[in-house]
Symmetry: C2
Subunit: 420 residues, 2 copies
């Protein structure tokens, strides 16, 4: 057996034992573990920063870009944010044990549908070390053991942060193997993890297309992908144009590199002239490259790059916006359904009937009326914390908070009931 | 491209178009389709029975067992049950569009979590033709298009039943491609279906281990398996022994071939003598082969077959019961967790604290206190209908009724909200 496989199996069986114990840990113990972990991060700050320094040095030598080095970098401020976030998770309500529904049958049998942990969650991610503590804290809070496999460039930082979490667990009497880092940075490890269905109950890949593809094609357990957002702003003919501009600018420019940023603007033909003339210059002023259909070019001038079929399907994650003028609400909805990724889509309109049609017919995780797509986020939804935004349809769709890290079981109470 | 692949892609793209239309069909239209299908089954009974006759004749020639031929056989009574079941599904409440939760944020943003169809569901099953109409009707009711791939031995029967469903849809203005039978009975078709993630949003394999294994290892979309039940009856030291016996006999003997039948009896040592002496003869009288640990052999005599490690993990689906005497509730729970399949497990006890510990610590889809494991069933839960019993942990666990055939989306309503 390969060393990698052996390491994974050992980690898996430790995680299984930890998960069984963790499933019945009290809320108090789990919260104490998170608070102890926060304290540990504060008291071991020098060690964690030294580990991070080692990653940064290696990264600089191996030629990581400035952007990547910046994502990798920890400092006092970022560490403080990490420990603050642990304390915040400790304050959130624990979903485990919550009664989802309760009913009785005419024969007197009583049913309870109760939230329970999922079991063991495998998370595969890239670069930013804070994902280690964020993901681990949400899993511990929800009674799940977690197997973390971060990017190789952040290995020392991830180990140091996970060690703080493990220390916190130990101090609170929660099994430390609830949090484990897989240190093999071999690509093979991802494939092996995806096949380990006896030890991983849910696998969450967070990263680029190649990673998602590897995990999806090998996984023998449920996968919840955190993938792409080709998000739309549709400006209807009755839209308040000032509101539409402000939503568009927010959705496109506030943070263009994230999945809930807008990539495509659809404009109703009746207001296309006035709206595009209004927002075009502002978008350009903000450095947004515009790619448009023929009508857009007619309105905004020939310097607009023609949008290709490919553009409508592209998640730019950058200051680029594709623009299309549509003849009707139906055409707008059809475009979103055909080219979108079912992530986050907005209609701006003053017409409640049009809004209702868009909200019902657009099949996306979150559909918005008169609000920016950027609100598709666990924090903005009021979930307190999120492990990411699911682009899958089942179990969790959209922001994945604490509840989405649980499943359920039925408890059924009889008085000697047998089936006829 | 292979013919099979071409057939699947054609069916998939038809299903996608149908699923989009179906998602916004009214409850009235969907119910009308089901009632028209029931009428169609009644008026086309002769054709359906002739198709079934053809399957039976082929099956007899190819040497199908009497048991399989019986599962395959349709007659007036079974057809009447099928059309009655369609009418019953029409009467159930439609979960699509139901408001799951609604809330507002301090900034005034309003959130609605709303049930929507899953999209396209692929179902792979064996032998019994009534699965065709049952599965199709539940999918149509919940706004999902369905791709059905039944066993080759039932091909003509399945086509005839699906045609009745399609006719019903057409008559009610619901897209007929909501229901499609994949006629390729090649094994290759199963693998190709499992890879078709662009056209299937959820795949449900119902069948033996080989089928489940093929689907799980190739699937690139969520899989919900309907697999094995290694179910336990644990008789605690304070159990009412008469009640325990009646539950045990029901769970083991009422229908031994189904997944929620009991396979293993665990008995607390303090009452082992009296309970085993009481129920042993009755089990033998009913033809149940007993396999026991040493203590069981001491109590029931040396003719008891010794239970092996393998026995504890085996789903007999037959009149065989493995028996183990345990020293404590903890040991009983540990056995269930170690050897069970997390399907359905019962504690019989008069001690509420022991029951509560069992209900909380046993991590099965359904855990019972003083009731037979046979109640793990959509009908018994009051779901009205079920597509099966999920042995997976995510999205649907235990009985899968109409709600479990839906997912959700968020509708978010602002007044020009942008993110800071």
């Amino acid at each position: 057996m390969s060393d990698i496989r052996q390491q994974l199996l050992t980690a898996g069986s430790r995680a299984r034992a930890a998960s069984r114990a963790l499933a019945t840990c009290t809320e108090r113990a789990k919260n104490a573990a998170l608070i102890a972990a926060a304290e540990q991060i504060e008291s071991a700050a020098a060690d964690i920063l030294a580990a991070n320094r080692a990653d940064l040095d290696r990264g600089a030598v191996s030629g990581l870009s400035q952007a990547l080095l910046d994502r990798l970098r920890l400092d006092d401020k970022r560490l403080a944010a990490i420990s603050r976030s642990l304390r915040e998770v400790a304050l959130l309500p624990d979903p485990v044990g919550q009664l989802i529904r309760e009913w009785s049958r005419p024969d007197g049998l009583r049913f309870k549908k109760v939230r329970v942990p999922i079991g063991i969650i495998g998370i595969i991610y890239e670069s930013r070390p804070n994902v280690t503590s964020d993901a681990a804290s949400l899993c511990v809070k929800t009674g799940n053991a977690v197997l973390l496999r971060g990017g190789s460039e952040a290995l020392h930082s991830n180990i140091a942060l996970a060690e703080a979490l493990r220390t916190g667990c130990r101090q609170a009497g929660v099994p430390e193997d609830a949090v484990q880092i897989l240190t093999s940075t071999d690509r093979e490890a991802v494939r092996l993890m995806a096949e380990m269905s006896e030890f991983i109950d849910l696998i969450i890949p967070r990263g680029g297309k190649a990673l998602i593809e590897t995990v999806s094609s090998h996984a023998r357990m449920p996968v919840i992908k955190h993938f792409d957002g080709v998000c739309h702003i549709y400006v209807d003919r009755t839209a308040d144009l000032k509101m539409a501009e402000s939503i568009l600018i927010n959705a496109k420019c506030q943070r263009p590199s994230v999945c809930n940023a807008a990539e495509t603007l659809l404009v109703h033909s009746e207001i296309a002239d006035s709206f595009l003339s209004r927002c075009g210059p502002e978008l350009k002023r903000r450095g947004v490259e515009l790619r448009g259909d023929k009508r857009t070019q007619e309105i905004l001038g020939p310097e607009i790059v023609p949008a290709t079929e490919e553009d409508w399907r592209t998640e730019y994650l950058d200051l680029i916006l594709s623009i299309r003028v549509v003849q009707s609400l139906d055409e707008g909805i059809a475009h979103v359904e055909e080219y979108g990724s079912h992530h986050s889509d907005t209609i701006v309109t003053a017409d409640a009937a049009a809004a209702s049609e868009f909200l019902n017919k657009v099949d996306s995780a979150a559909v918005f009326w008169n609000a920016s797509t950027r609100f598709n986020d666990g924090g903005e939804f009021g979930f307190g914390a999120e492990i990411g935004i699911s682009t899958d349809r089942l179990h969790a769709r959209g922001p994945m908070g604490l509840e989405e890290l649980t499943t359920y079981k039925y408890q059924v109470i009889g008085q000697g009931h047998v089936r006829e």
